[in-house]
C-alpha cells in the first residue's frame, strides 16, 4: 500500500484508539477500587448519547453538554447505589451478575423508550469538520480527541497522586477493609470514583457521537467490551495502562483491517484474541503490578 494510505490508516487507528482509551479509563478506575467489571459502562455511554440527542433538541449546545454530563454522572452514581452497594459483601460472582443485569436492563430500557431505530447524533460542526492535510483527510475530532485524552490522563494522574481524595482512592484500591478502619469514607470514595468514570463516559460519548453518529440501544456493547479488554491489556487498575491499552487495541484493530482486508470479519475477534493472550502471558497487563493473593 502507498505511504499516503498507510498514513491515513495510522490516523484512523490513533483516532479509534483514543476513543477506546477514554472509555477504558472508566473501566479501570471502577475495577481498581471495587474489583468489579462494570459491564454497564458501555451502556452508560449509550444512554449518554441518547441524553445528548434529547437535550440538544431543546437547548443550545453548551447547555446541552453540561446537562448531559450531569445526567450521566447521576446515572452512574445511581447505578452504584442501587445495584452494587447492596452486594459489596457478597461473592464476586453475585456482583458481576448484578453488573450484567444492569447492562441488560439499560439496553432493554433504551430499546423500549427510544425504539431500536438508529437515531442521528446531533452534528457538532466544531468536531466534525473535515480537514485535509496534504493527502490526509481527517475529521477535526480525530485531532481533538487524542489531545483531550492525554489532557484528561494528566489531570487524573495529578488527582490520584497529589490530592487527598486521590490518596483515599489509592488506599481503598489497595486494601478495602483497612482503609475503612482507618476512617476513610468508603461510600464517598466509591461514589466519587463512579462519578469520574461516568464523567469520562459522557465525554467519551460526545466524541464517539462525533465520529460515529448513529445511536442505537446496542451501540455500547461491543465498544464496552473492547474498552474493557483495552484496560486489561494495559494493566487493570492503572490509568496510564488503560490509555496505553486503548491506543494499542485501536491501532491494532485498524491495522489488521488495513493490511488484511479479507480478515475484516475477524475484526472483533482480534480484541478477544489479544485478551486471551495477555491473560495467559501477563495477566496483570503491560503496566500492571503483580499482586500476590494471601491465602
Amino acid at each position: 500500500m502507498s505511504f499516503d494510505t498507510f498514513l491515513q490508516h495510522l490516523t484512523n487507528g490513533i483516532s479509534l484508539g483514543s476513543l477506546f482509551a477514554l472509555i477504558a479509563i472508566g473501566y479501570t478506575m471502577v475495577y481498581g477500587i471495587l474489583r468489579l467489571i462494570n459491564f454497564a459502562h458501555g451502556d452508560i455511554v449509550m444512554m449518554s448519547s441518547y441524553f445528548m440527542i434529547y437535550f440538544m433538541s431543546a437547548m443550545p449546545w453548551y447547555a446541552a453538554i453540561l446537562l448531559v454530563i450531569i445526567s450521566t454522572v447521576l446515572l452512574g452514581v445511581l447505578i452504584e447505589r442501587v445495584a452494587y452497594k447492596p452486594l459489596r459483601e457478597a461473592s464476586r460472582m453475585s456482583i458481576m451478575i448484578s453488573a450484567i443485569g444492569v447492562s441488560y436492563l439499560l439496553e432493554n430500557l433504551a430499546n423500549y423508550i427510544f425504539t431500536g431505530v438508529p437515531k442521528g447524533y446531533p452534528d457538532m460542526p466544531v468536531l466534525t469538520k473535515g480537514l485535509h492535510i496534504g493527502s490526509l483527510s481527517v475529521q477535526s475530532a480525530s485531532i481533538v480527541i487524542p489531545i483531550i485524552t492525554i489532557l484528561i490522563l494528566v489531570l487524573l494522574i495529578n488527582l490520584i497522586n497529589h490530592t487527598k481524595t486521590g490518596m483515599a482512592m489509592r488506599a481503598v484500591a489497595k486494601d478495602y477493609e483497612t482503609a475503612s478502619l482507618m476512617g476513610i469514607q468508603i461510600n464517598r470514595v466509591i461514589a466519587v470514583t463512579f462519578a469520574i468514570g461516568s464523567l469520562l463516559a459522557a465525554i467519551g460519548s460526545i466524541f464517539w457521537g462525533a465520529r460515529y453518529p448513529s445511536v442505537y440501544p446496542l451501540m455500547g456493547v461491543m465498544p464496552g467490551l473492547k474498552c474493557f479488554i483495552a484496560a486489561v491489556l494495559g494493566g487493570i487498575g492503572s490509568i496510564p495502562g488503560a490509555v496505553l491499552g486503548g491506543f494499542l487495541l485501536g491501532m491494532g484493530e485498524t491495522m489488521l483491517v488495513a493490511f488484511f482486508p479479507t480478515l475484516t470479519g475477524y475484526r472483533d475477534a482480534f480484541a478477544f484474541i489479544v485478551l486471551i493472550i495477555i491473560l495467559l502471558v501477563k495477566p496483570t497487563g503491560i503496566l500492571g503490578e503483580k499482586t500476590t493473593d494471601k491465602v
Partner: protein
Amino acid sequence: MKKSFKWIAFIMVYVMILSTFLSGCSSNGGSTAANSGSGGSAAASNDSEVIKIGVFEPLTGENGGGGSQETDGIKYANEVYSEVLGKKVELVIVDNKSDKGEATTAVTRLIEKDGVVAIIGSYGSGVSIAAGDIIKQAGIPAMGASCTNPMVTQGNEYYFRACFLDPFQGTVMANYAIQNGAKTAAVITQNGDDYSTGLGNFFKQAFVKLTGDEGSIVADMVFQTNDQDFNAILTNIKAANPDVIFAPSSIATAPLIIKQARALGITCPIMGGDTWENVSIIDVAGSDAEGVVISTFFDENDTAATDEAKAFVKGYKERLGGDDAVIPAVAALGYDAYIIVLDAIERAGSTDGAAIRDALAETDGFEGVTGAFRFDENGDAQKSVAIIKTVKDGQFEYLSTVTVNE
C-alpha cells in the same frame, strides 16, 4: 421473605401453566383454530365475525425502522379496506425483532395461537426466508411486501411477493452506473444479511457482464452487522479509486458509510439499494447524503399513476401529517400487499389457506399502488420497472424510471 417468595413463585407457575393451556385450548374471542396434531393444511376457519390477517414485521432490532414503516402502510390499508366477505378484517401484528430465531416463533404464534388466514411480511429477506418453511408446512399463504431476495419464494408455493427481486435490482443499478460513465466499482456488503450479500452479488455479476471486464470490481469489502467504524475499509477503497461505490446495507449503517466516506475525501458517487430509501439516512448523514443514488419501488409523484395510487398518496400523506411528508416506498408496498391479499380472499370466497393461495396465483392485472400485479410460477410479482431516486437538497428526488425487458 424467602417463604413468601416461594409461595409467589409456585402460584405464578401454576397460573402460567394454566393460562398457557387454557389459551391454547379454548377460543379467545372465538378465533383460535382448533388445531390438533401437526400442521398440514390447517383449516384456520374463523367462525366468528372476524377474519384475521397476520402481520409479521421487525418492529425492533436492526430493521425496526423499515419494518415500522411497512406496518404503518398495512395498517392504513386496513383502515381503508376493513372488510372482506362481509366480515371485519383484524390485523394481528407480531414483532420478529429482525432475528431469524424470533421470526420462526413469531410466525408459529400467528398461525397457531391467532389463527390467521394469511400473513403479510416481512421487511428483511433473512427473516422471511427463515419463516418460509413453517408457512409452507402450515399451508397459510404469505405475501411479502419488500423482501427482495429470490430465496424467499423459491421452492415455496405459499410465499408470494409484491416487489421486484434482487437480481433485477442489481442489474438496474449496474446499468445505471455504467450509463453514467462508471468503468470500475467498489462493493461493500454486510456479512450475514441475505439481502445485502445477495444484492451485492447480483450487482457484481451484472456489472462485470455489462462492462465485459473481469476486473471492473476493484474492491469487494465485507463488514459485520454491528460495525460502526468503516474507515479502514473505506481507506482501502479510496486507494483502489473506483468510479462508483455500491453499498446495499441496512438503514443503520448507511449514514455511517456515507459520512465516513466523504470525511475521508472519497468523492465518487455512492449507490444503495431499496433499503436506503428512508428519511433517517438523510437525517443522520446530513449534507453528506447529497447525490446518493438509490433504487426503489415507488414514486409518489408519478403522473402515470393508477387511481388507487392517487387516492393512496393523498390519504397517506394526510396520515403522515401534510404535504411535506415523504411516503416511504415500503409503506406503499405494505398497502399493496394487503389489498392484493384481500382481493384474493374475495375471489376465493373462503378463508381456506389453499383456496386463497390459488386465488393469489391467479391474480391478473390487479391494480395496486405500485403497479399492476401478476405473479409468475415462483410467486414473484412480474415487475419490470424500477425507480431511481437521488438525494437532492435533503430530500429524495425522482431521477428516472428504468424498464428492463427480459
